[in-house]
Amino acid sequence: MEVKIVVLKIASRCNLNCSYCYMYNLGDKTYKNQPKVMSKETIKNIYKRIIEHCEEHNIKNFGIVLHGGEPLLAGQKYIEDFIAIGNNMSEGKIAFKYGLQTNGILINKEIVDSLEKLKIHIGVSLDGPKDLNDKYRFYHNGKGSYDDVIKGIKTLLNNNSYRDRLGILSVMNINLNPIEAYQHIKELNVKGGDFLFPYGTYNNPPLGKEENVENTYYADWLIKIFDKWYDENEETRPSIRLFGDITTSILGNDIMADYLGNKNNEVLVVETDGTMEAVDGLKSCGNGFTKTGANVNSHSINQALDTPLAKLYHYSHKHLCKKCKLCPINETCGGGDLANRYSSEKGFDNPSIYCSDLEKLITHIQNKIIDRLPTELIEETGIERLSVEKIQTLRNDNIKNDQTTYEDELLGHFYAK
């Protein structure tokens, strides 16, 4: 098992207290035991482990995402020192590519100039127009964050490098008019954005999935955006990652993303105290759920990966429940995000709570792509137009005719004992 990206929780606290945050507000309280920022010793040990792992697996390019909490709480000098340590220790043998995911509040010109010099790609989290954003993304005293985030985004956009690179991440809120959500990203004049499915499980479902998970509120929401986006000028509209990913997959490419696709998730999270764990979104499955006991101070990356949860996350698009295993579009949806499959009764041996949404969205995008591809190409390659009914019929037939008893040790590991 290889890891090509680490997500580092360089600061364990956040200056915001967003209602849906999986770090603090979805049941996991382990952040309370974490130091506020990562120590210098831990940083050195992280680089030592990364370099060791890269040498062992002959990896030349490695991604490091500075994350939190709010990573900028660590301070500008801290980040500069952080990267200098990596450069010194790797001695040019590994090309590190850095990213930073921030709420944007602490951004100012000096920080932007520093991050630009360090060539750090930046993503900012924002959930749409002020009234909606401030309902969910607020300070610890309840004050909305929108105005301060916008100030940060504007400062970033005043910088030539970030004008072309900045991306906005928004957690979907189906109560908001989707076109308004899209227009909001567009009006910020950023080149790219994405809409994330809210984290949630069968035990703790997100908005709209409380009564049943078969509805397609999220797909319907996204499809409205897709149709508008798809008809706009490609040169002036922002790129939307989810739409790009599904398109890329339909065109036959392999996609590495934890929310869909067919490749392994070559990602590991390192907590502020140096403990290593599978992706942090799995914190939404319960208190301490992601804890492995492995720490960069005493364990290698390989050792950290040698736990059921880390393995299951790494191969999450291969370890699927029977329904997904026998579904004709599983190479594109990949069973969805692992966290969204969780129930305390059957662990991860379930379809995603967003299964119906993914089915409908993928079908819609595939149809729209086919509409704009040359007829000759469609005929020669024998690509068939998807429909939700066709997918369901095929899947049901496959299930009816399949007599195999699937025994998946990793999926079984998380069943209620």
């Binding site: 900045l166 490609e234 990602v267 591809l373 024998g382």
Partner: protein, 73 residues
């Protein structure tokens, strides 16, 4: 049911018909597909992201956004 392209058998067919593509977004994506990820088929070494896989993970969007738009530092 074949609902997506298969690179092993379909790349040549995609190449053959790519000139007929009018949609710029699809044209760019198809071109990248044909040329194994590069947006600069004439000289892939000029595409800074060429050596990368179709690696889109993770939640840091700045990074993947740059990749999608074919730019680096």
């Amino acid at each position: 049911m074949k609902f997506k392209f298969d690179l092993k058998s379909d790349v040549k067919k995609m190449e053959k018909h790519s000139d007929l593509l009018k949609d710029k977004f699809l044209k760019k994506e198809v071109t990248k597909t044909i040329f194994g990820g590069t947006s600069n088929p004439l000289d892939p070494s000029l595409d800074p992201n060429w050596s990368n896989n179709w690696s889109n993970n993770w939640s840091n969007l700045g990074w993947t956004n740059a990749w999608r738009n074919g730019i680096d530092w």
